[in-house]
């Protein structure tokens, strides 16, 4: 493989990682509170707002059921408004973030709901307020599940980031399509796929190792 090709690969890898990290961080900042809200706002929950919960749940489901490639095209006006363009890595980050928020919200919701209800009783009996219950009970007890969910979200983002390549988003997907597919360079395609596999593997094992370390529910951890 020529030095130009290697430099293209390096640039594309950096772009992909940048998209995944930026979209991942932004989506976590929005998705964790949203997931907490979904978990705590049902009728009979800690902060019951069942009407709002249903409305947000509906939006979350709608976003998750929209095919990603359609979401990318559909929100082009928003992308232009935020980044001034609809092409390139920065622009691609907008639909990636938007797609990851509802996913993260749902995984956080399910991790929080899995916290033993008896702990809430104990916390309330000790005089804990809703804020303390969230910060001292729910988030610490759900942390392993949340980390596993975020790992899953990051892996999905790697896949989605390759897809935005198809619409001019840059990154490894873009490289694979333009060089590997359109210019018939199988070695380029192979290199792109290998790098993606390595990135996904690294995310998955890193996330799992962290989740295991945080999870004290089983003896020996």
């Amino acid at each position: 493989m020529s030095p130009q090709m290697l430099s293209l690969l390096a640039d594309a890898t950096v772009q992909t990682l940048l998209m995944v990290v930026v979209a991942g961080v932004l989506a976590t900042l929005a998705g964790v509170p949203l997931g907490l809200f979904l978990a705590l706002s049902g009728a009979g929950d800690l902060l019951p707002r069942p009407g709002l919960q249903r409305a947000i749940g509906l939006i979350v489901n709608a976003t998750r059921s929209t095919p990603f490639i359609i979401l990318v095209v559909a929100i082009v006006p928003l992308t232009r408004l935020l980044t001034g363009t609809s092409i390139g890595t920065a622009a691609a980050t907008v639909p990636l973030t938007l797609a990851a928020i509802p996913f993260i919200a749902r995984v956080v919701e399910s991790a929080v709901r899995e916290v033993d209800h008896g702990l809430l009783d104990a916390a309330r009996a000790m005089g804990a307020g809703p804020g303390q219950i969230v910060t001292k009970i729910l988030l610490p007890e759900a942390r392993a599940g949340i980390v596993r969910g975020l790992t899953l979200a990051a892996v999905n983002l790697v896949g989605y980031s390759a897809m935005v390549g198809a619409v001019g988003g840059g990154g490894l997907g873009d490289l694979g399509i333009r060089y590997g597919y359109q210019r018939f360079m199988p070695e380029m395609m192979l290199a792109v796929v290998l790098i993606l596999i390595i990135v996904v593997q690294a995310l998955q094992s890193g996330g799992e190792a962290l989740a295991r370390r945080l999870d004290k529910r089983n003896p020996g951890n």
Binding site: A125, M126, G127, A128, K136, P140, L214, K216, P219
Partner: protein, 365 residues
């Protein structure tokens, strides 16, 4: 219903005063179930009071009404002189910090160490960090878990977990400890150890304890006062020795049978007659507490010319007094038997004449 203790009716004598407590649950099919159907109950300060009853009697709802974890539909909950039902959320939260609670399934945080779990109640109560460490060490010493401070709950046995629960509940210096079936998930030996710890805390710290249980053994072992609950109502209450020796209500009697070892064997129950027969035996169930239980009851009967055969029975400690429960088959002169029963009752024994059987029913096998 009379208060638990008469002659001690100064307001300070009671840690908890429940008045007119009702709680109704609405089922999905529109049915309503009264979990609590008008409870008036005063809990003696400094004592250990046990609320017993079959499952579904409303024990749990009653206990959770005391710290308003479940808000009653009507009635007032007064703890340590404050009406908790009238407090706003913030004041209620502060009031709960002076009411400790332990649970059947311990409810410890899996991701906090033993010391971290004990510290939690102090953090929630807003203790300064510098004071939390020493207080946690003090509590772990009290419950005998100093060497487990850095372990996680997953590495502990059930009894150890409950000790952590107790330490956590006691850390903010509560005046009242609520125990929600605290030993129901433990084996008998561990149950005894935990009950001994609760007794010790009650005696040494003067803490008022209110516990719910479905096991009469727990009541016998640890409680001073007992309240029997059925279908959301109090059907009987009083000092444990009194209720055990002289249960007034049929449900209480049934509940006590298994615990006192005075269940009539089925083979005998099948042959039971209501009228005396010639050369038959009279079956009695006898409960006695204290001096009477320790006295030579059987030889007293023998002296009256009555042969007493033991069918079932048990003598066990009730607090620090012996408590005897037995079923005996009495044979002899009918008049002498009546007379003996009369005399034993006069000495304080609780005697129930179960019926009569042919003599071979008690001598065979």
């Amino acid at each position: 219903m009379d208060p638990i203790v008469t002659g001690q009716d100064a307001p300070d004598a009671f840690m908890v005063r429940l008045a007119g407590i009702t709680k109704i649950f609405h089922g999905k099919d529109g049915q309503t179930v009264a979990a609590l159907a008008g409870i008036d109950l005063n809990i003696l300060r400094g004592g250990i009071t046990a609320i017993v009853g079959p499952s579904g009697a409303g024990k749990s709802s009653l206990l959770r009404a005391v710290n308003v974890l479940e808000r009653p539909d009507t009635g007032t909950v007064n703890v340590g002189g404050r009406d908790l039902t009238s407090l706003d959320d913030e004041s209620l939260r502060r009031a709960r910090q002076s009411i400790g609670m332990i649970f059947q399934h311990f409810n410890l945080l899996a991701n906090r160490t033993v010391a971290g779990n004990v510290a939690l109640s102090l953090e929630l109560a807003g203790w300064p960090t510098a004071k939390i460490g020493p207080r946690v060490a003090e509590l772990l010493n009290l419950v005998g878990l100093t060497d487990k401070a850095t372990h996680y709950p997953a590495a502990l046995s059930g009894g150890q977990k409950q000790r952590v629960g107790i330490a956590r509940a006691l850390a903010p210096n509560p005046q009242l400890l609520l125990c929600d079936e605290a030993t129901s998930a433990l084996d008998p030996e561990t149950t005894r150890q935990i009950l001994a710890l609760i007794r010790k805390i009650n005696r040494e710290l003067g803490l008022t304890v209110l516990l719910i249980t479905h096991e009469m053994a727990v009541v016998r072992e640890v409680a001073d006062q007992v309240v029997v609950l059925e279908a959301g109502r109090i059907i009987e209450q009083g000092p444990v020795a009194q209720v055990f020796a002289h249960p007034q209500h049929q449900t209480t009697r049934c509940f006590l049978l298994g615990e006192t070892g005075t269940e009539l064997p089925p083979a005998l129950a099948a042959r039971l007659l209501t009228t005396p027969i010639a050369d038959g035996a009279t079956l009695i169930r006898l409960h006695a507490v204290g001096e009477l239980a320790a006295s030579p009851l059987l030889s007293d009967l023998g002296a009256a010319g009555i042969a007493a055969r033991l069918i079932a029975g048990r003598v066990q400690p009730l607090g620090d007094r012996p408590f005897a429960g037995l079923i005996a088959a009495l044979t002899g002169n009918v008049g002498a038997i009546d007379n003996a029963i009369h005399q034993l009752r006069a000495r304080g024994a609780e005697i129930e004449v179960l019926g009569h059987v042919a003599t071979d029913a008690v001598t065979a096998g």
